[in-house]
């Protein structure tokens, strides 16, 4: 079993691999990938492609394949979420809302292509799982936004992506693009289970921006389930969510 946590892209990233064939090289390969993504997309690095694009030093056609792919996926997501997902804010692009899930997805794929079966990649609480841990499926706790030492639900899952969007932590903000100055206060966290972390993450972000209606949006998406916690300490979940809940 190999497990490591590193601080990259401004968040702790943890990778655990249970295959007996796992080596340090597998971990390094996945972490190096996150490092590369950060260098391309970080809006906090003046030298990143995204910063140069925002300063007008690069045109989209001059950007790398990765940047053009992310811009295309962002536009696709914007359309699929009726404009609730939007990387453009105050005239500049910040694709971090889509890059994270996309990077976790690709890092996990690198492990799969290396022949590994049982692992997870967790970047700041957004997770791709594959296979299982020891004799059970991966158990993922949904953190209580009122008390971060507690979980309010335990999922038992494999080969899915699990993403949570929320405002449990001050300083993080997801805003409604249609009302950018109004803080989202009535819901605290929205967890989405989807076919992979890229899909789960982008829809969790967009649905969170919709406020209370977001869980309805997830209900209507085939292949996705959601668990929303509101400011009244009540949870609302979609019709197929319970099949992911660990039965004790």
């Amino acid at each position: 079993m190999m497990k490591d946590t590193r601080l990259l892209m401004g968040m702790p990233i943890t990778i655990e691999i249970c295959d007996s064939s796992a080596t340090q090289k597998h971990l390094d390969m996945a972490f190096d990938y996150f490092q590369t993504v950060d260098e391309i997309f970080s809006t906090y690095r003046d030298s990143s492609e995204i910063s140069r694009l925002n300063r007008g030093e690069l045109r989209i056609e001059q950007c790398s394949e990765e940047v053009r792919e992310i811009l295309a996926l962002s536009e696709q997501t914007r359309r699929e979420t009726n404009g609730y997902f939007n990387i453009e804010h105050d005239g500049s692009l910040d694709p971090s809302g889509i890059v994270k899930g996309w990077a976790i997805f690709h890092a996990a794929n690198l492990l799969r292509e290396a022949g590994l079966h049982d692992y997870y990649v967790d970047a700041g609480g957004d997770i791709q799982v594959a296979g299982q841990k020891d004799d059970h499926l991966w158990r993922i706790g949904i953190r209580n936004p009122f008390n971060r030492y507690e979980n309010v639900k335990v999922l038992s899952v494999t080969d899915v992506g699990v993403a949570t969007s929320g405002t449990a932590i001050r300083g993080q903000h997801i805003y409604n693009p249609f009302q950018p100055n109004v803080q989202i206060v009535d819901i605290l966290s929205l967890t989405v289970v989807g076919p992979n972390i890229y899909e789960a993450d982008r829809f969790a972000t967009a649905a969170f921006a919709m406020g209370r209606r977001g869980i309805r949006f997830i209900e209507d998406l085939p292949g996705f389930e959601g668990y929303m916690i509101d400011s009244d300490a009540r949870a609302t979940y979609t019709s197929g969510f319970e099949r992911y809940v660990l039965s004790v």
Partner: protein
């Protein structure tokens, strides 16, 4: 007269029933958030600069080797309270990041709002004790978190 008595009994039973029903319902919704003392103000903190690798970008991550032990970071001011983290290092690797201090800053609304939608189910959240392998939650990218963690890791390298 008899009708009046019967009516009074029925009304009385109904009142008692509804009181009991109301009470059992109220107790079925245990408040989960235990110690939220600070009122939630709606002042967002500034977006923190991602300090992951604030030094000059390199193309590969050098695997860092830390000394085994637990390292507690500095107490960092997150504006809405103080945070402090502890990094646990085993065999040269970070195996856990724990919170030493974290403010409970959510005030709980007393209004219970049922979500009316036939396909969706609503419940009061409840703490679970089952062991988990991973936790999903909103990203902690606050400047104070990164500051305290970086500090803990600096002592782990020394």
């Amino acid at each position: 007269m008899r009708k009046v008595t019967v009516a009074a009994v029925i009304i009385g039973v109904f009142i008692i029933y509804s009181l009991l029903y109301h009470q059992s319902n109220a107790s079925a919704l245990p408040p989960l958030a235990s110690n939220n003392t600070r009122p939630a103000t709606s002042v967002p903190t500034a977006t923190p600069p991602i300090a992951a690798s604030g030094t000059s970008p390199t193309s590969t991550t050098t695997p860092t080797h830390y000394k085994d032990g637990s390292y507690t970071g500095s107490v960092a001011d997150a504006q809405w309270g103080y945070v402090q983290v502890k990094a646990v290092v085993k065999n040269g690797k970070i195996v856990d990041v724990q919170w030493v201090q974290y403010p409970n800053d959510r005030s709980r609304s007393i209004m219970i709002n049922q979500y009316a939608d036939p396909q969706l189910t609503s419940e009061a959240i409840q703490a679970q004790s089952a062991q988990v392998d991973i936790v999903t939650g909103a990203t902690d990218s606050s400047m104070a978190f990164i500051q305290s963690l970086s500090d803990a890791l600096t002592s782990a390298k020394a």
